[in-house]
């Protein structure tokens, strides 16, 4: 049996007395698609940030491909293996879309400009915005910006992709185009850890659902089991609220 690509082991994180993560453990196996949901403030974003060492935590450990985040001496290298997509895209506004995508391959991975641009164009094409490569991010629609951000992460050819509410800052008509890119990624076998409230996407694409509340994982089950009958009352309540809103 292969080891999980991300292994979260009993992670606890305090923000000055406030417990944002309270003993979270989760295995992400190669090729699996895990959707994390839960009410606002339950620690979903914080958990993702712990995985690539953006947020220091007090106890427990996260292993990425066998390397411990807390003891890691070379975090930049570890992060190359973990793509991250943010709610607000976070493209660099002063760089063209192409430069946004080639920056890290050139500076962090040491590719030549030619190699980096070749890869960048490949992934921009894959997310369907190759024709926008020379524009500044602000000239793109929200959906296009998020797809550019996905291309920026993909160009580093990470082993796992993390998405933090990638569609919740988008107008409804643009959500579909981003979800389609993510669906395609899943079909190609990408390992994905997705925080989202898009339950349609979760039902269709995910194989596991994690429900978090107050810094804990309160439910972790297969997709069909989760949607058929959430085990906990909290998850049932949450699901009802989410589904009714849609």
């Amino acid at each position: 049996m292969t080891q999980p690509i991300v292994a979260i082991r009993n992670v606890c994180l305090d923000y000055g007395g406030f417990r944002a993560l309270d003993g979270v453990s989760l295995d992400v196996n190669v090729g699996s698609r895990i959707v994390i949901c839960g009410p606002s403030g339950s620690g979903k974003s914080t958990l993702l940030r712990c995985v690539n060492g953006l947020e220091p935590f007090q106890s427990g450990e996260v292993f990425v491909d066998g390397v411990g985040v807390r003891t890691c001496k070379d975090l930049p290298k570890l992060r190359l293996g973990v793509g991250m997509v943010f709610q607000h895209f976070e493209l660099y506004p002063h760089l063209s879309v192409l430069d946004n995508v080639t920056l890290a391959p050139m500076k962090a991975k040491g590719l030549s400009r030619r190699e980096a641009e070749e890869k960048a164009r490949h992934y921009l094409d894959r997310v369907g915005i190759l024709d926008q490569a020379d524009k500044f991010p602000a000239r793109l629609s929200g959906g296009q910006q998020q797809r550019a951000a996905i291309a920026r992460a993909l160009t580093l050819e990470p082993k796992v992709m993390m998405f933090d509410e990638p569609t919740s800052a988008l107008d409804p008509e643009m959500i579909g185009e981003v979800l389609k890119v993510m669906r395609d990624l899943a079909r190609d076998g990408m390992t994905m850890l997705v925080v989202t409230h898009e339950m349609g996407f979760a039902r269709e694409v995910a194989d596991e659902i994690v429900f978090m509340d107050k810094g804990r994982i309160v439910e972790h089950s297969g997709v069909s089991a989760f949607f058929a009958a959430p085990k906990t009352a909290r998850a049932r309540e949450f699901l009802d609220r989410i589904l009714l809103k849609i």
Binding site: L75, M84, F86, E90, Y92, P93, H94, A104
Partner: protein
């Protein structure tokens, strides 16, 4: 006795050479100091936002000292006190240097202005959405690369107007260099008055130099600002707030 204007004397020697040299000195003194101030100011401004307490403290100390001691006093300190603190053989070298006052003025002006630019950079960095830092790090950039390629270019674009006004300030502050013996345009105007008793003409040239250069800089930086304009940069700042 009535004052007799004699504008033509400005074109006579030695005055003409003095004036041309002095204008040149004023311009490159200002330009060199401004470039150094920009480099130091960016470094200190970044230091003030790092996680390291020691660096933050050092940065804050620098800013408070250099911003709050009057520039005139700083120039005197650099000219008279600083050489005394140097090791003996450096001191000899410094004293033999012909342009010691010029270099003293460069040091004084650039360190003073750097403190002001550092403050601008610091607040510009605070205005950058935190997600930008996270995004840059998440792609495997080192913290240094993150500042070098993402944060500083972003911050500098936010403060281009402030950088322009710092150049104009440094340019006017070069006049203080006359107190330590630099032959910039104000001091030469004074010298011409002493030699020829034609003060009005001389000071008019000096004033015209400042005004013309200021206008030229404003036009130039307006052009730079347009070139460096990034759609969405300032707007995003506002909409996020």
């Amino acid at each position: 006795m009535r004052y007799e204007f004699r504008w033509g004397m400005l074109l006579e020697q030695p005055y003409f050479t003095w004036i041309v040299d002095a204008i040149a000195t004023t311009l490159h003194l200002a330009l060199l100091s401004w470039i150094l101030a920009l480099a130091i100011g960016i470094a200190v401004g970044v230091m003030r936002n790092t996680p390291s307490r020691a660096l933050r403290f050092a940065g804050a100390l620098y800013v408070e000292i250099f911003r709050n001691v009057p520039l005139l006093l700083q120039l005197f300190l650099w000219l008279y006190v600083f050489p005394e603190l140097l090791p003996k053989h450096w001191q000899l070298y410094w004293n033999r240097l012909d342009d010691a006052p010029y270099w003293t003025a460069v040091i004084g002006l650039s360190l003073f202005t750097a403190a002001r630019i550092a403050e601008q950079i610091r607040s510009a960095i605070l205005a950058i959405p935190p997600g930008q830092f996270k995004a840059a790090l998440s792609t495997g950039l080192t913290p240094f690369q993150m500042y070098r390629y993402v944060i500083v270019p972003y911050a500098v674009r936010i403060i281009i107007p402030a950088i322009t006004s710092e150049f104009l300030t440094i340019f006017k502050n070069t006049a203080l260099a006359l107190t330590i013996g630099v032959a910039e345009i104000s001091s030469v105007a004074r010298k011409i008055e002493a030699w020829s008793f034609k003060g009005i003409e001389a000071y008019t040239v000096a004033s015209a130099t400042y005004v013309c250069t200021t206008i030229a800089v404003i036009v130039l930086m307006g052009w730079v600002e347009k070139r460096a304009y990034i759609p969405g940069l300032i707007k995003r700042e506002k909409s996020d707030a």
